[in-house]
């Protein structure tokens, strides 16, 4: 693996300054390779073991099989868990995107009395360890509101940390938004509602979409908060957790591989959509 040196970089820029520069660079390159291996070896092994015959995941590789995939995919509990997770993730991403996008506007533009406090309240759920959120929300829903735990309480729990993500992402784009465009629209007779619909939304939709994709991915992977707020139902992460705790078979690795593939697809889709969005905007701009 070698990373080509940038074309177009000024040779003076990369010219060795100290006599050790070349050596330093070699060492750094080697370090980068080691780091990438550190990041990916566990994942690659995870995938390899999903095809391995023995009933406990690990070396040696004795024979290749697809049995664990069949095991995983014919398991009713798992399929229900996947269905539940998708329901929660779709609900969370729709709600979080709408709620977060709406909130981003007054946060960026309004004169909020305590901007510092609002910022801290909006970042705390992202920064606080999930365990604290999970326990707090569980106590609030059960002991204070006396609600039965269900998938809906999971959705509520997930909103607490996905809404801040959407707010931060959309607010970041709104901050760079050229308000002259809106004023121009207003000068030309557009109502604020029309300006929002025809001027602002078309320009900031990549960040809204990014917010939706991120909240979907975060929700479908979230274990800790789900663990506390879920009722008798299983979601994908809680199912995987019980599998890991009680009797691991490579079926877990098969699920992991499929989930990884799913995440990659979502990721790819997000990137493609974002770059399409950028291209559209660029074309509109010229």
């Amino acid at each position: 693996m070698s990373w080509p040196v940038a074309r177009g970089i000024d040779p003076i820029e990369t010219m060795p300054v100290s006599p050790h520069a070349r050596a330093t660079r070699r060492v750094l390159w080697l370090w980068a390779v080691i780091v990438m291996a550190f990041l990916y070896v566990p994942i690659v092994l995870l995938i390899i073991f999903s095809f391995n015959e023995p009933a406990s995941p690990g070396l040696p590789i004795t024979g290749l099989t697809l049995d664990w995939y069949e095991d995983a995919l014919t398991n009713r509990l798992l399929l229900d868990a996947v269905k539940n997770s998708i329901f929660v993730a779709v609900a969370v991403s729709i709600l979080a995107t709408i709620i977060g996008t709406m909130a981003a506007f007054p946060l960026v533009r309004g004169r909020i009395r305590y901007p510092g406090a609002a910022r801290i309240v909006a970042t705390l759920p992202i920064m606080l360890p999930g365990m604290l959120l999970g326990i707090g929300i569980l106590l609030f829903l059960r002991r204070v509101l006396d609600l039965e735990l269900s998938l809906l309480t999971v959705v509520a729990g997930h909103l607490v940390f996905t809404v801040p993500f959407v707010i931060l992402i959309v607010a970041a784009q709104l901050q760079g938004f050229d308000r002259k465009l809106e004023w121009a629209a207003a000068d030309l007779g557009a109502e604020p509602r029309q300006a929002a619909r025809h001027i602002i939304l078309p320009l900031i939709w990549p960040s809204i979409l990014a917010g939706a994709l991120i909240s979907f991915t975060l929700s479908i992977d979230e274990f800790v908060i789900t663990f506390f707020t879920v009722g008798p139902q299983l979601t994908l992460p809680t199912y995987i957790y019980t599998q890991i705790k009680f009797g691991v078979t490579p079926a877990v690795n098969a699920i992991a591989t499929l989930l990884l593939l799913g995440t990659l697809l979502m990721f790819g889709l997000g990137i493609v959509l974002l770059s399409v969005g950028r291209r559209v905007r660029r074309r509109d701009a010229t």
Partner: protein, 303 residues
């Protein structure tokens, strides 16, 4: 009051219009205020309340106000020791993650073309978006007694019998935590390094600074916000970590988060709430102290 007066309004009708305007502007934030103000802050507030109550013999929460739950945290040696150990673990992982990520991102920004930078960065982020649970689980098959490391060491003839050096202890928890924290550190550091003008290092050296002096006096002060952000993003989650010890830590690798979970498992809600509040207060304090340097968007808004 006067601060709410909109610019461009006449003084006579200003207060009323100003107020109506600010209400009109704030309504889109109401649903978010419900989620964050009621559900989140409400949860935290009631957790504070419960932490001053008592759990009776029948596992019911009783509004019998007292501070025993907090006293226990600070007087029972096991609890204090576990909390101290959690802080040491968090600090060690932070140092290791930054020491790993700093040379990596420095190399990336300084010597790799923009196009490849983006690809490598994406490769760092992708595992970050896959299930946390599975990333921890992946290490079970590597560190375990019959795991890859043991198999390799035995295959090479270095050891005869599987060693338990790498499993169900603090070392295994440490390794896995560095693994899951790395992307946070790399993202935060990349974001600041990317804004750094490397010409300054050359300038410093032209003026006679040794490379290490240039790094220390020119680079380091300018990337300090990124370093602080990275530290916070690695350190804070570990204080509330309970999953990694469960999956690879065994009984030896227990952290403070596991104690909290055990209290709730045992229906000792008031006691668990007090521990959770101590942790939450500690984290909030850290965030407030470092809020000026913390660049959450650098890490969050890159996905």
């Amino acid at each position: 009051m006067t601060s709410e007066v909109g610019r461009g309004t006449t003084p006579a009708d200003a207060p009323e219009i100003g107020q109506r305007r600010s209400v009109a502007r704030l309504w889109p934030a109401i649903p978010a205020a419900l989620v964050l103000g009621v559900l989140f802050l409400g949860s935290m507030a009631f957790m504070v309340v419960f932490s001053f109550w008592r759990t009776d013999a029948g596992f019911h929460l009783v509004p019998d106000w007292n501070v025993d739950n907090y006293v226990k945290f600070f007087t029972v040696p096991t609890y204090l020791r576990t909390f101290g150990k959690t802080l040491v673990m968090a600090a060690a992982v932070t140092v290791a993650a930054l020491a790993t990520a700093l040379p990596f991102t420095y190399f990336l920004v300084r010597y790799v073309s923009r196009r490849w930078q983006r690809i490598v960065l994406l490769a760092v982020i992708v595992p970050f978006w896959t299930s946390y649970l599975l990333r921890v689980y992946a290490w079970q098959a590597i560190l375990g007694e019959r795991g890859v490391i043991n198999q390799l060491l035995m295959g090479l003839g270095i050891i005869d019998a599987p060693t338990r050096l790498f499993t169900y202890n603090d070392l295994s928890v440490f390794i896995v935590l560095v693994y899951v924290s790395f992307p946070f550190a790399a993202l935060a550091l990349y974001a600041t390094l990317e804004r750094f003008d490397f010409g300054q290092l050359r300038a410093a050296q032209d003026l006679g600074a040794r490379p290490d002096q240039a790094l220390r006096h020119i680079l380091l002060p300018q990337i300090r916000p990124g370093i602080i952000t990275a530290c916070i993003f690695v350190f804070v989650p570990i204080i509330g970590e309970f999953l990694t010890p469960v999956v690879v830590g065994g009984t030896q690798g227990v952290l403070i988060g596991n104690l909290v979970i055990n209290f709730f498992r045992g229906a000792q809600i008031a006691q668990g709430a007090a521990f959770a509040i101590v942790i939450a207060a500690f984290v909030t304090l850290l965030l407030i102290v470092f809020r000026r340097h913390l660049q959450v968007e650098d890490v969050v808004a890159r996905g």
